[in-house]
Symmetry: C3
């Protein structure tokens, strides 16, 4: 593995899950592996879990994390090819990525989509530019269309909490007041497709994810029907993909409640808006796995960094 940009970079999800569990048992087992190595965490967007858990993962490997809010700490980066840079951007990604590669052994990047320009978002311009122009491994800390550190975390969490050999996992859309990306949902879908689970997706009509990602995964437009006998309900809002970037529904009937959930475990990548996406009664109960998920972010990131370090 040269980079970790998508769930497709995982060759064997079951062995990765086993490795992550082993790291979680003894997080400091590789504390000399990253000695005198530096990871640059570049944020084009806000972050809490990713910012902290990736730093923690790096520290567990003995690495030195250097964190930078690109726009706030530096200046606007240009991604266009051949641009006459007489506008608001002060440095081209060709230089920026190559330069940061001089100081960091690994570069991790967070860059959200525009949600207005589908073609641009699907081109993954920022992430792919780093892959192209950097000379060190790139880690995706959530890009326009994927959040593979979260997807790996979620696979690990489901594996830890499954009580049957082949659990039923439901990805459910839920309402939200803001236009949100598809990245977390996409990576979750891709992770579940690699696992031995019964996996279905449920959302209102008009909210179908990219069909190239969902593939053969069953889509059920009736949430109650989808939830029948579920072991895990993974919840996330996203905006319309076909009517790109639009909010087509804020229907509160899609909010997750304790009653709907039944015996299933509740999962969410966080941050979550209480009583909009899910009611308090779910999050405040033992049915919720959201804090365990957040904890697993450390070990997913640590496994990815470990594999990249071993390959340097």
């Amino acid at each position: 593995m040269k980079h970790y940009t998508s769930i497709h970079d995982i060759d064997d999800i079951n062995s990765w899950i086993a490795d992550a569990k082993a790291l979680k048992q003894a997080p400091l087992q590789d504390v000399t592996l990253g000695k005198d190595k530096t990871i640059g965490l570049l944020f084009f967007n806000s972050s809490l879990r990713t910012r902290l858990s990736t730093q923690k993962a790096a520290l567990n490997l003995g690495m030195n994390p250097i964190v930078m809010n690109v726009s706030g700490d530096a200046w606007g980066i240009e991604f266009g090819d051949g641009t006459v840079m007489d506008g608001n951007t002060a440095e081209h990604i060709k230089e920026a990525a190559a330069v940061v590669s001089q100081y960091c052994d690994i570069i991790a990047v967070r860059a959200f989509p525009t949600l207005t320009d589908k073609t641009k978002d699907e081109s993954e311009q920022v992430l792919k530019s780093f892959v192209t122009y950097a000379s060190v491994p790139i880690v995706n800390m959530e890009s326009a269309t994927g959040h593979p550190l979260q997807g790996l975390t979620d696979a690990l969490t489901i594996s830890e909490h499954a009580k049957v050999a082949k659990p039923k996992v439901v990805l459910s859309w839920a309402p939200h007041v803001k236009t949100l990306p598809h990245a977390v949902a996409n990576s979750f879908v891709q992770a579940m497709q690699k696992m031995d689970v019964e996996f279905v997706i449920t959302h209102p009509e008009g909210y179908d994810l990219n069909p190239e990602i969902t593939g053969n995964t069953p889509i059920i437009y009736n949430q109650e029907e989808a939830f029948a006998n579920a072991d895990f309900v993974y919840t996330k809002n996203w905006c319309s993909y076909s009517d790109y970037g639009k909010i087509l529904s804020e229907d509160p009937n899609w909010m997750i409640t304790k009653e709907k959930l039944g015996d299933a475990k509740f999962m969410h990548c966080l941050p979550v808006r209480r009583n909009v996406v899910v009611e308090d009664a779910v999050l405040d109960s033992d049915s919720s796995l959201v804090i365990q998920q957040a904890n697993n972010r450390t070990y997913a990131a640590q496994l990815v960094l470990k594999k990249l370090l071993e390959n340097l």
Copy 2:
């Protein structure tokens, strides 16, 4: 001690002062105590001394500091119970505090008061929410009503510079152009009440601090009278407590001058506005202890972190 949120968490101030002095003599004596441990410094507000000295203290103990400006680096946090989060806040403190506890062995928090909503400020909503929902020790890096790292620092500084067994210490209000919190004054009052000093407070009428905090401490509305035979003059502006958040006076006659100070030592938590709160002639003289105080911030923080680490 499970948390350090107030001066009341100090069981025996004289033994703490002795311990802090010992740390100051040999700051690296416990450099392995915090090995592979992480402290998260969460700032809801600006900071210079606290930001740097708490990092320095953590480094002296071998800890890894992770610093985060909550609003700038992440997003708005919701503290209300049962809120339908369809507004500007994106994550509830219940999740945020529990999540950060997954990555940090100690969490330190700075969150200033509104100075418009007395009930809310006195409830210490932010600090207490972290205590309630985090699963690790919480350190108060200045909250709505207290700044106990500063209070401990001040007690240490007075102990170091006292030339008599029971020095006279005066807390004096001074003018300022902005509405400032009571936190520093409150913690200083509480620290002095635990020490063997002759302690009086002086301020214009209408500026009485919370009477539950000042208790039996004498309050003198005449600054000159209060300063008579003082060994230490601790100066701080605060807004009115009774007429909450209001500036009732900017009377320059309350500014501290070399003449007023006499042989007393001048103390201030900093930042201080020169020639508004205190004249240059004081700060630029040997009567000023403000830099020594700032230095002691490291050892006060280090002692608190050491005690918390020993108790993990």
Copy 3:
């Protein structure tokens, strides 16, 4: 050397270049020198290379870097002497510098010029205030009139890539859309004046740098003439010095092209605006040394920090 504020702090540039090359060969040779030592990086302005390379340099020496965006993380600093601080600044540099000296063994500062007040800029108020009021060594991470870490980097890069004993080096102005400082150009001029090179400066009339800095260095107003037989073309935009802060020309004929460059190597401190300052064809070719320059920032900074640490 007590501080590193200007190229004039370099006693013997050839021996410094040799030392920097040795560090580059074995960057971790002094990894215990900075153990338990802290460097504070204080940014009054944006930074990418300087921010990352100085941290990397400190880490290579085993130091703990603490980074702070002064305005964003703290508040406005007052530099005026005797000011009645009833305005927007909350802390005086006298306190700020002395206080930061309590927590950091070395302080590095970036503070750009106003480009509107020549007298103030030339007084180097911010940098000199730190030198005056701090009690630890100060490193200039780009001040109003100089960028000596860059100048040392550039000298090192030229030394590495020179193919003749006394190469011809041209400093060329190039167009830009914004008003830019003279700092990089000044330090480059001062560095070249110390080296055994044939050095000329070229720019449109009206763009003469401070004559006290350029001294006897030949100035040629015809770019083509200046470039004849050049080995290195160092490019940089700056605003007018005589008509202080003004943009007198955006003439695209001064942009650097592959054709103009010929066999010379292209150098720039970055960030660079593509197709405004220099065309893509130059930056995307082997003639460009900009990434190698960026890499050398680490070793220039590391040499400076090493010398300061050895002198503590």
